[in-house]
Symmetry: D3
Subunit: 70 residues, 6 copies
């Protein structure tokens, strides 16, 4: 499946914390950048996510803000 999302960043799962219904997943995409994602626990199970596994962080362009230093 190919996606319209402009940002599909390949990396490795380096953190996984499950809450009551929502989990936080941390993906190291290289270059010193770790991306944090908040998804449902059910998605974590469906994708078989676990530390050390290859995964992609996917972000729609309209959900990316830009900031500059003052």
């Amino acid at each position: 499946m190919r996606l319209s999302a402009r940002n599909v960043m390949k990396g490795t799962v380096v953190g996984l914390e499950k809450g009551a219904t929502t989990a936080h997943v941390r993906i190291d995409i290289g270059g010193g950048t770790v991306v944090t994602s908040s998804i449902t626990n059910q998605a974590v199970e469906d994708l078989g996510l676990a530390e050390g596994k290859t995964a992609y962080a996917v972000v729609k362009a309209s959900n990316v803000m830009v900031a500059v230093d003052d």
Copy 2:
């Protein structure tokens, strides 16, 4: 200003395309990753964005999906 957004990725503006009201900004955050952002033209002007400038791509964790290979 410090932000709740879990993902603040520093980089350099490498692309900037303005439409009628919406602009697309591309930020090279290193490690071979270029992030595409869709923001208002007005924001581009307010931040003084231009190719070659330092900028941050900012993404709330709840807007990051995760994918895995089949």
Copy 3:
């Protein structure tokens, strides 16, 4: 690629309108429901979208609101 997004709805592209940088795509997912998506023109080209083509509307659960009648 498998996605964490809880909502992946298969359908047929029934409308496609490109603006200056942003396009609107309408996907008929059956049962009388047509989903409208706003994506970049570039995504439309990359995916080769056109009326009559099979496509999926993809929505993260955290981007779905719920409403009830008064």
Copy 4:
């Protein structure tokens, strides 16, 4: 109240799971499609959501991605 959101899909609540602060609601919108929504527990209470009740899944067009098969 009428909404700018392009996607207002009428259905029936077929699942409701409350976590510590966040709930997941599943709405069957017909045609074999069940939409999953992640909202606050407080919203669930305010709207009086329960299985079997009529409800709408509401999604802003800019939050809908598009995908195609490889």
Copy 5:
């Protein structure tokens, strides 16, 4: 229709700029705050939005970030 969105802010349309497919609407919600919204041109027409009209800015809680001064 009642919404799960935690933030429904009543105000007056004080600005309206239509682009090729996307419009920017500015709503004065009082207390010196003007909220800017980016929606489809089609939504602007469907809602009959115009300067001076009463309207609501609607935001899902998961789309609100928090910031603090350094």
Copy 6:
């Protein structure tokens, strides 16, 4: 840091509820408006949020819908 987000609303934290992984923060921005935000518990800690503290509610324009009365 300056942000592309069109909506940066200054106020005071008047409510803070932490769940398993996700927290709800309520910010009174004046004029009778209280904005509710859903962020990670980790962000609450990083920003040192607490009732009575000054904080900003930040919303990207593309995440603001518009509604009108029937």
